[in-house]
């Protein structure tokens, strides 16, 4: 494990630390909300450790607090967590084949996925994924414990804008990569689909429907000039570059662009 921490650039370490602090703040409001709904104090931290997926926990606790049954709560929360299946597919190379993959899988969440994707090399991606995963594994349950202890003392988290913290954390981590990729179209289309679907489908389904944006990749495209891949191109066999919207080499290099969230602190003049 020590080699993983040595691989991390200091900017990534800083991002992970601050991200974990932000996650802890959200967790404080989660813990406080849960105990004020009448749950025993030990329950929210337990859920935080064994599920380790914030938005689904909010929903699980929220459905029960609103008088819903356990079955409905589990189902709703599992629908929210269904996105971890495609996350698992995208993170497969980063979590590897060793025994550590069984822990790595548990550390998979929005934050660790976005940190892992945003690195220039696979080695750094793996290190950032683990660092962010461990950061959330510590900060989410710890913040929940603090929230449980504070209970009603902290009052309404909306007053200090805490409800904006989670989407802002994701924005801070994913948007710089979008700019570097110059591939805004599909994520924007996906977001529009998700927002449009929100009033008519259950919680958690809209992001899954956003994946319909991928169908655009199957449309016939006019040919574009290719750019050479930078990092992972050598690893990947380019079977049929024109069968998708762009060549896989280009996609891989864009995904691993050196100009990403991890360099946000130092300023990036690459792109």
């Amino acid at each position: 494990m020590s080699s993983i921490w040595r691989t991390l650039p200091s900017a990534v370490t800083r991002d992970v630390t601050l991200m974990s602090l932000g996650v802890a703040l959200v967790a404080i409001s989660y813990g406080a909300t849960a105990v004020s709904a009448g749950f025993p104090a030990w329950l929210p931290p337990l859920i935080a450790v064994v599920v380790l997926a914030g938005s689904s926990e909010f929903l699980f606790v929220g459905v029960l607090a609103a008088g819903g049954g356990v079955g409905a709560a589990v189902l709703a929360a599992l629908v929210v967590n269904a996105r971890h299946l495609p996350y698992g597919m995208a993170m497969r190379d980063l979590i590897g084949d060793g025994r550590s993959r069984f822990l790595a899988a548990h550390l998979m969440n929005d934050e660790s996925v976005v940190m892992g994707l945003g690195q220039p090399t696979e080695e750094q991606g793996r290190a950032a994924f683990w660092a962010a995963g461990v950061g959330v594994l510590v900060s989410w349950p710890l913040g929940t414990v603090i929230g449980v202890a504070l209970g009603g003392v902290i009052g309404d988290p909306h007053v200090i804008g805490l409800d904006a913290a989670f989407p802002a954390i994701i924005a801070a981590l994913v948007v710089p990569g979008l700019r570097a990729d110059r591939k805004l179209g599909l994520p924007l289309l996906g977001a529009v689909i998700a927002l449009a679907a929100t009033p008519v489908v259950p919680a958690g389904v809209p992001p899954l429907l956003a994946l319909l944006a991928l169908l655009v990749m199957a449309l016939p495209k006019r040919r574009r000039p290719r750019r050479a891949g930078r990092h992972r191109s050598a690893r990947r066999a380019s079977s049929d570059p024109e069968s998708v919207e762009e060549s896989p080499d280009r996609a891989a290099s864009a995904q691993r662009s050196p100009c990403d969230s991890s360099t946000a602190f130092t300023g990036c003049h690459h792109a």
Partner: protein
Amino acid sequence: MPDLPSTTTILVGVALLAVGTYVFRIGGAALRARFAGSAGMDSVVDRAAVILLVAVMATTGFTEGDGVAGIARPAAVGVACLLAWQRCPFVIVVLAATATAAVLRALGVV
């Protein structure tokens, strides 16, 4: 406040949720291993992860329940996106977003 189910029932639910979520996580990786080496597949799943993240950000930032999440939070997330696009440091992006929402609410904008 409605009565909560018994603690045992809740714990069974927590166990099901934990196992189900873990199966999604490890199952995705295992599924991908089946298709290892397909370059088109690599491109699609990397894109899928980014699309999911942006959609999660949009839905948690702009909606609450079935409707729009008022004005303060969407405005805050808009500020976060703008600052992140300008490559502002992580802490600035998150603090500016929460401060935007807090200030707007202090001014009576929900």
